[in-house]
């Protein structure tokens, strides 16, 4: 098998992005709806194509570029997450364009929208590279591609002070976190002399006496990644940036950025787990981050009245749940998959339910001129369809069985119980109940309250289709998780363990 196959996906996405940028600058047409529509069409094909891409199980031994790049099942899985997120985000961008136009001056209505549609494609390419990166250099470069696109996108509505404020905050704290990341990478390089993760894994057991330096470097890397995945105590930027950014970008940040951050975290931690002296310390550090994120995210989400801000805090909380799974990565070689499956599944479920809630929110906010919880009052009457979509999203986020969100929590806590992290489980029990409270507040607003105004809300055909698909997928994968689990398991361990017969 020629190894060129998997990377074709990224190349197509990059070509698409460049094409959109160029085509936009040469076109005079005011209506730019064709841009996201083309992008959605191409990305959907790339997504379909990804299922026929032969993934190679481990990084290739050759030197050169393939030294940096791996296309194992996990990488392919996260590429699909990136593609799917981008597709839905582009749909959201289409729905959101009237809001963006209001804050962008121009002669024709669609004048400033070109980059709003093409930058997400570049972000997508960056996310896909991150999924495959097995070398600190590629990790860093692809991370920057993602982050720099986000700097622009967050501040895109340039006549809106909130968006600008969000942009500045994100820029400063993002740059700071990048600084931590790079500094950490240099420490690890200094100790091991390698930037390649598999080479580091080879070198590690031979190092003696430099654990302190290694831990320091790894800690700095984790601070950098902590910013990306929005884990406490590196979460300070999240609420303001999420609330100020254009809503589709908020959705993109909370799903895409988080997913990419987590795959890098898994990959970076993997080589260090073989060293018992290092792995114990680093996993307890992860456990502390998980506990802090769970507590902070859930408690701070409870009093919020603005849905976007509430979802920002809830995204911190969900980072906490995933970190519980990361902390439960078993250091033994016996069953390395359980926690990784939990992380991947959780992110996939998180993608479905979060994008669903953001999409509904964009449509409702456009009609009600605001995204406070109050604006959802009586949605069950105004638009039963949107209310049902939001209901499914909220139930899944809260963790009601037969939704993807529940199955994710189930897998995460199964991994945690297996590793006897009862401290984290105890916190998890309390925070899940807190989550029920703030997610159900939206449900109660939609169904208990009377609507503020009775105008029915119209939903376009594309948005209707995407909402339906996301809602059905949330429930389908909540009942039948096997397709996702199978995609995450390395092929050699996919065989079912035998159940011993008992007489």
């Amino acid at each position: 098998m020629h190894p060129i196959a998997p990377i074709t996906l990224e190349i197509i996405v990059l070509i698409l992005g460049v094409f959109l940028l160029l085509a936009e600058s040469f076109s005079k047409d005011g209506n730019k709806n064709w841009m996201p529509e083309t992008a959605i069409f191409v990305l959907a094909w790339v997504f379909a194509f990804s299922f026929f891409t032969p993934g190679n199980p481990s990084p290739l031994p050759e030197t050169g570029f393939w030294h940096f790049y791996s296309a194992d099942p996990t990488a392919l899985f996260f590429k699909r997450i990136a593609l799917l997120t981008t597709i839905v985000v582009l749909v959201m961008c289409l729905e959101y364009r009237s809001v963006v136009e209001r804050f962008i001056p121009g002669e024709t209505p669609g004048a400033g929208l070109g980059e709003f549609y093409s930058l997400p494609v570049f972000t997508c390419a960056g996310l896909m590279f991150m999924a495959s990166a097995v070398d600190f250099l590629l990790i860093f470069v692809s991370l920057e591609l993602v982050t720099i696109s986000f700097y622009i996108l967050v501040a895109y509505m340039r006549r809106n002070p909130a968006s600008l404020e969000a942009g500045v905050k994100y820029l400063i704290l993002g740059a700071l976190s990048t600084g931590f990341l790079v500094y950490g990478i240099t420490w690890i390089f200094g100790v091991t002399g390698e930037t390649n993760l598999s080479q580091i894994a080879v070198k590690l057991p031979q190092l003696h006496g430099s654990e302190q330096a290694l831990l320091f470097g790894l800690m700095l890397v984790m601070i950098g990644l902590g910013f990306k995945v929005a884990a406490a105590p590196f979460q300070l930027w999240v609420p303001d940036v999420y609330q100020g950014a254009p809503t589709p970008i908020t959705a993109f940040l909370s799903v895409g950025s988080k997913a990419a951050g987590f795959i890098v975290l898994i990959r970076v931690l993997q080589p260090f787990l073989v060293l018992p002296t290092v792995s114990g310390k680093i996993l307890s550090l992860v456990a502390i981050l998980a506990a802090l994120s769970l507590i902070y995210g859930n408690l701070a989400a409870m009093p919020q009245d603005n849905l976007k801000r509430l979802l920002a805090y809830s995204s911190i909380a969900h980072a906490g749940y995933i970190l519980v799974a990361v902390a439960s990565v078993s250091s033994e070689m016996a069953n390395p998959g359980a926690a990784n499956v939990a992380i991947g599944y959780y992110l996939a479920g998180y993608l479905l339910m979060t994008l669903l809630s953001f999409l509904v929110m964009i449509i409702v906010a456009r009609h009600s001129r605001g995204d406070d919880i109050m604006h959802f009052n009586g949605l069950g009457k105004r638009s039963p369809f949107l209310a049902a979509g939001m209901l499914i999203a909220m139930l899944s986020l809260a963790g009601i069985p037969f939704t993807a969100g529940f199955m994710g929590k189930f897998l995460v806590f199964a991994a945690a119980v297996e590793q006897h992290h009862f401290f984290l489980v105890g916190i998890g029990i309390v925070t899940v109940a807190a989550g029920f409270y703030y997610y159900l507040r939206i449900v109660s607003a939609m169904y208990w309250q009377e609507p503020n105004d009775d105008t029915p809300i119209t939903v376009g055909p594309l948005a209707r289709l995407v909402i339906t698909v996301l809602a059905v997928a949330t429930i389908f994968f909540g009942i039948f998780p096997q397709p996702i689990i199978a995609a995450l398991q390395p092929s050699q361990t996919a065989a079912t363990p035998t159940v011993a017969s008992v007489k």
């Binding site: 069950g380 009457k381 039963p384 139930l395 809260a398 963790g399 009601i400 069985p401 037969f402 529940f406 189930f410 806590f413 199964a414 119980v417 297996e418 489980v425 998890g428 029990i429 309390v430 899940v432 109940a433 029920f436 409270y437 159900l440 449900v443 109660s444 169904y447 208990w448 009942i479 039948f480 998780p481 096997q482 689990i485 398991q489 996919a494 079912t496 363990p497 035998t498 159940v499 011993a500 008992v502 007489k503």
Partner: protein, 490 residues
């Protein structure tokens, strides 16, 4: 057949949401539920025993997690309870003024959740189906409830979410207490594994505690009971009937089916704790019940209190006690559903159910007075009703757990304490009867009040007649329950 019991209500609910005529569809689904559960009971082959009507579909093969429904005697009796109470609950629902379709869809989702929980023989689905009823309950109480409905809705939902999550951790812990090569979510298989004693005794205490707290919260075990009375008092009638009558039994069913047989050593380890809590359930909550001045709250507390007897039967861990507990679950479900139905009918006529504002209702409404009397006697445990037969078995079962040489065991002390509960429940039930139905009615209040129409009467009659049948012929039901219990005890 079991799949029908689960999916008929779900499909009917979805149909109602998409525009089918709400009440007619719900009535039809309720009737179907009742008839199918009855048919299942009759077509179960008692000579063969074990699990019948099985069907399964793999979900996560590597974890041996699958959709698996099957029924033995215990499941069938619980499913029959679900069928009867659902049918009665839909029948006695008064006219719903707003958003009728959502109301009936919620009621049917609760039914589907209960039926699924009792029919599932896979821990994951057993758990999941029960949670399916959580959100419909939240919507029902918050939208159509009375009094402090929103506060009550929040309380029950958060409480039960917390309880179920503890339960989930317990189930996962139980799963992982199994040796790695024998892990399964299949409850039938787990039972076989329990017979082979594959879980070491030392590893049983922790999961059992999780399960006890989790299931206990769902059944309103003291001190996790405070969600129940307010929720039942505020809930619309069908929600109160289904929740107090059927859904709450899920926790007891879970202890009986999962916690006790699979973790017997864990159960022994925590037996004294359970005994203390259940005596508190009976005596403390019983006294609180006496102090209530409103009919709906009193019924809510009484349903909490009666859980104590069932806990006692379960804690006794012998054939007669467990069989009694299983029968009492059935009997209590019917009697509390009838009581809530009657309370709901009074509420339609008079918004306040406080004892001070009611009185002498037997005069304008002789039927309601009679029916309430019968249900109250059943609930106290008068001979002739299923409640009597099963409570006697529970007390015998619990008392048996002692030896003459060592003096009174903790079980016997608990039984002696629990016996006083019968007196307490007689006090509050008879007082309530007197306050509501006896005496001279206030002419201004009861003006124009008449008995409910026939279509509202006979769901109540159905519940009470079933209680009488089970009371006079408990052996018929025990012939279903006992083989199951024997299998669990092995």
């Amino acid at each position: 057949m079991l799949n029908l019991l689960i999916f008929v209500p779900i499909i009917a609910a979805l149909g109602i949401l998409l525009g089918a005529p709400a009440r007619k569809t719900a009535l039809l689904a309720g009737l179907a539920e009742f008839v199918i559960s009855l048919l299942a009971l009759f077509s179960y082959d008692r000579a063969v025993g074990g699990f019948q009507f099985a069907s399964q579909f793999p979900i996560i093969p590597s974890w041996d997690l699958k959709y698996y429904v099957a029924a033995d005697g215990l499941s069938l009796v619980m499913l029959l309870l679900t069928g009867i109470v659902t049918f009665a609950a839909v029948c006695v629902t008064p006219k719903i003024e707003r958003r009728e379709n959502l109301f009936y869809a919620c009621v049917l989702f609760i039914t589907a959740g209960a039926a699924g929980a009792f029919a599932s023989q896979d821990l994951f689905f057993f758990y999941g189906f029960h949670e399916l009823a959580l959100i419909p309950t939240f919507l029902l109480i918050g939208l159509w409830g009375s009094g402090e409905r929103q506060a009550a809705a929040w309380k029950i939902t958060i409480y039960l979410a917390l309880g179920s999550f503890v339960l989930l951790i317990g189930l996962v812990d139980l799963y992982q207490a199994l040796p790695a090569d024998a892990r399964t979510f299949d409850m039938v298989r787990l039972q076989q594994l329990a017979v082979a004693k594959v879980i070491p005794a030392t590893a049983q205490a922790r999961p059992f505690l999780f399960l006890l707290i989790g299931f206990g919260t769902l059944v309103s075990l003291f001190p996790f009971h405070s969600w129940a009375p307010t929720a039942y008092a505020s809930a619309p009638t069908p929600a109160a009937m289904l929740h107090a009558g059927v859904l709450k039994k899920f926790g007891l069913y879970g202890l009986l089916r999962v916690a006790i047989p699979l973790l017997p050593e864990g159960a022994k380890h925590w037996a004294d704790l359970l005994l203390i809590l259940l005596v508190a359930n009976i005596l403390y909550v019983g006294l609180v019940t006496i102090a209530q001045r409103k009919l709906d709250l009193m019924l809510g507390y009484s349903s909490v209190m009666h859980m104590g007897y069932i806990f006692l039967g379960i804690a006794s861990f012998n054939l007669i006690g467990l069989s009694g507990a299983a029968l009492l679950m059935f009997a209590h479900g019917l009697s509390i559903a009838a009581l809530f139905a009657i309370a709901g009918m009074i509420r339609e006529r008079h918004l306040s159910l406080s004892f001070d504002s009611l009185g002498g209702l037997a005069k304008p409404m002789p039927f309601l007075g009679f029916a309430f009397g019968v249900a109250a006697f059943a609930s106290i445990g008068l001979p002739g009703f299923a409640n009597f037969a099963s409570e006697v078995m529970v007390f015998f079962g619990a008392f048996k757990n002692g030896s003459a040489a060592l003096g009174f065991s903790s079980f016997q002390l608990a039984t002696i304490g629990a016996l006083w509960g019968v007196v307490i429940s007689a006090v509050y039930m008879l007082r309530a009867y007197k306050a509501v139905f006896l005496g001279e009615p206030d002419k201004a209040v009861v003006a124009g009040w008449t008995d409910p129409s026939a279509s509202m009467r006979w769901p109540v009659i159905l519940l009470l007649v079933t209680l009488l049948i089970a009371g006079f012929a408990p052996n018929y039901f025990l012939s279903y329950l006992k083989p199951t219990i024997e299998a669990l005890l092995r």
